[in-house]
Symmetry: C2
Subunit: 387 residues, 2 copies
């Protein structure tokens, strides 16, 4: 199973993208005895540094892509913005997961939500296709203000979202994404005044077997994930409901690999699906230390159709905090001693070659016998980190 198709050596896992998710996938792959190939559009990415099989001209360069395909036995991705046509091209030579078909259902958020709805998953905000300023007005009039206008594709960390508070915002929202420079398909969604944001990671292998991680709580700052609390501090029946919903979502898109399902817990305690990430997810970093099998290893097990590992936590509580860049400049922190001094928190630095303000540069995970303990350890380690 782990043998390369063509030779008496180990399989090579090809990863589209070389960022921190690829780095943590590569780490899991090496542990399982695999080789790793990375393709990205630049050199010296976090994962690219970890292998000689590094292809730096990007997957849109056909000859570079061909070389990458050639050395890989099976291929996956860390980036949800890859054109499904590229995945289809790859699939004509080597197996690639998630499939082009799954990515087509996920990348366009209107198609994504429509797919869920047609699979009888109704825990969704109200959503509609938008083709004009007038469509936005109609949505607001019918479902009330505020609501969200969002680009159907390519949005992340809040980019591509516009909150429409009053009818006067409709034109500005529409024109932001459709003007002489850009033309982006839009959708509208009802605004969820949430109590908390939740996420569940689901690994699903080629037999359709799933491993479902605990429902976690994500805390955003400036639309970027700041902190993840595992498990979420909500009633157990709600956590279970979130897990069931997440599995239904991944089944609906026939997902093979690992998927992050982001959800809102509304004020009325209804759970509403926000979106699906078809890859390892920031909200699952904590699984490396906390769970018997991490989201990264399960991503690999899933695509190799191996039995999935247990998503159960080894300790009762975990807290993960992202380390975002606080300067534009080199990516190496001044000192990590104060953060490491507690002895129990786990520091991950991605070794990105440059830092930008707000860029994800690393993270800290702390486990605890209680949630208060895990959060206190993580908060303290984070406070002591010096860029």
């Amino acid at each position: 199973m782990l043998k390369s198709l063509n030779q008496n050596k180990s399989m090579t896992l090809g990863i589209l993208g070389g960022g921190q998710l690829a780095k943590m996938l590569a780490t899991a792959a090496y542990r399982l005895g695999l080789n790793v190939a990375i393709i990205d559009k630049e050199a010296n990415t976090p994962a690219g540094d970890m292998t000689k099989l590094e292809f730096i001209n990007g997957w849109n360069n056909r000859s570079e892509l061909d070389k990458f395909i050639d050395v890989s036995d099976i291929i996956t991705l860390e980036n949800e913005f890859i054109e499904p046509d590229i995945l289809e091209y790859i699939a004509s030579y080597k197996e690639v997961f998630p499939t082009a078909a799954t990515m087509r259902l996920v990348q366009d958020k209107f198609i994504q939500k429509s797919t869920l709805k047609s699979n009888n998953i109704n825990s969704l905000p109200v959503f509609k296709e938008i083709f004009s300023i007038n469509d936005l007005h109609e949505f607001g009039n019918r479902y009330s203000y505020p609501f969200i206008a969002k680009t159907r594709t390519l949005g992340y960390d809040g980019y591509g979202n516009f909150t429409i508070h009053t009818p006067e915002d409709c034109a500005a929202a529409y024109n932001k994404f459709n003007n002489s420079n850009v033309s982006r398909p839009l959708m509208a969604e009802s605004f969820v005044n949430f109590k908390s944001e939740l996420a569940v990671m689901v690994a699903r292998n080629r037999n359709g077997e799933t491993a479902v991680y605990p429902c976690v709580e994500t805390v955003q700052q400036n639309h970027i994930c700041h902190k993840v609390i595992a498990p979420a501090r909500i009633a157990e029946n709600l956590r279970t409901e979130a897990q069931k919903l997440a599995v239904a979502c991944v089944d609906a898109i026939n997902g093979i690999g690992v998927f992050g399902v982001e959800m809102f817990l509304a004020q009325d305690e209804k759970i509403l699906i926000n979106e699906i990430a078809p890859r390892p997810h920031n909200s699952g970093h904590y699984t490396i230390e906390s769970c018997h099998c991490s989201q990264y290893e399960n991503a690999i097990r899933a695509i190799l159709n191996l039995p999935l590992g247990s998503p159960q936590m080894r300790m009762p509580a975990a807290c993960m905090i992202n380390l975002l860049g606080e300067r534009n400049g080199i990516g190496v922190p001044c000192d990590v001693s104060s953060t490491l001094a507690d002895g129990v928190s786990s520091l991950h630095l991605y070794n990105k070659k440059s830092s930008r303000i707000g860029r994800k540069m690393g993270h800290i995970t702390a486990l605890g016998s209680t949630m208060d303990e895990a959060i206190a350890i993580a908060d303290n380690a984070y406070k002591n980190f010096v860029w």
Copy 2:
């Protein structure tokens, strides 16, 4: 602290040796955001595959060594057989730990035990230098048979040991190591009829601060470590005594890095020191999943003089079983599905390019709420592994 000395980039950790210990060191280094360089005398070693900074002509090739030193900011080792002169040469350019001085105290087992004794560490078997067959007879007559003749240097996994049961064995033992082909300095040690074999990993940084891992029990088969049980199933006061002894040993050799101290628990419940390994150790593999900070990460923290991580276990019990080669041929197993099926054991495959019977090819770690649980999981996963 993590910045390269000369440039605005991350430090590069150079590792002498590219085997599985280097692979697990490299994994910990990458997680901390470091780069990794590997030197070994062949290509495609487990750790060499994980970096472009791979030097394949060995450290005895001066120009190869120079290139390795050049790209490294700080250097460590996974192999205790490196000539101290090489370490001294390296130290004239870059910091290297453990130091040549420490290695001189460890590599020759007679000097090692003499050093411990001169530091008032008396939990030792009787030991003596041996220069002749007659010296062996005298040792046997004075301290009784059976006893062990062992080469003072280069022994591992039982190679270099000869058990002398009767006076008639003395000549054979001596002549095995001293004949027309070889001439190896010898020592004699009293035979310890042990109840169990113990080991304690100690990380010690440049400030002399230590992190002491739990006392574990090692089970050998054919002189090779088969299983590690953490913590050891002995009285707590004995485990504490073993930990104190281990720290005293590492202090005595002024060790900087991580060290494995192997001990015997004799029938009379006395603990006797067997030997010190100046590097990460097979008996500490379990720390990756079990402890807040693994022996590998603490080895790196120690040589960078960072605060050491906690050696405490996250769950009460762990069991590690080595996967030894069962054929001479390719290093990839036929199937790992059955081993992975339990979902909770952690499989490590080293991706060695060829297997030999008895060669360390991987390992399995299982954690448990109880020792019985951990052992049962590991035994079952091991039983299901198919080479």
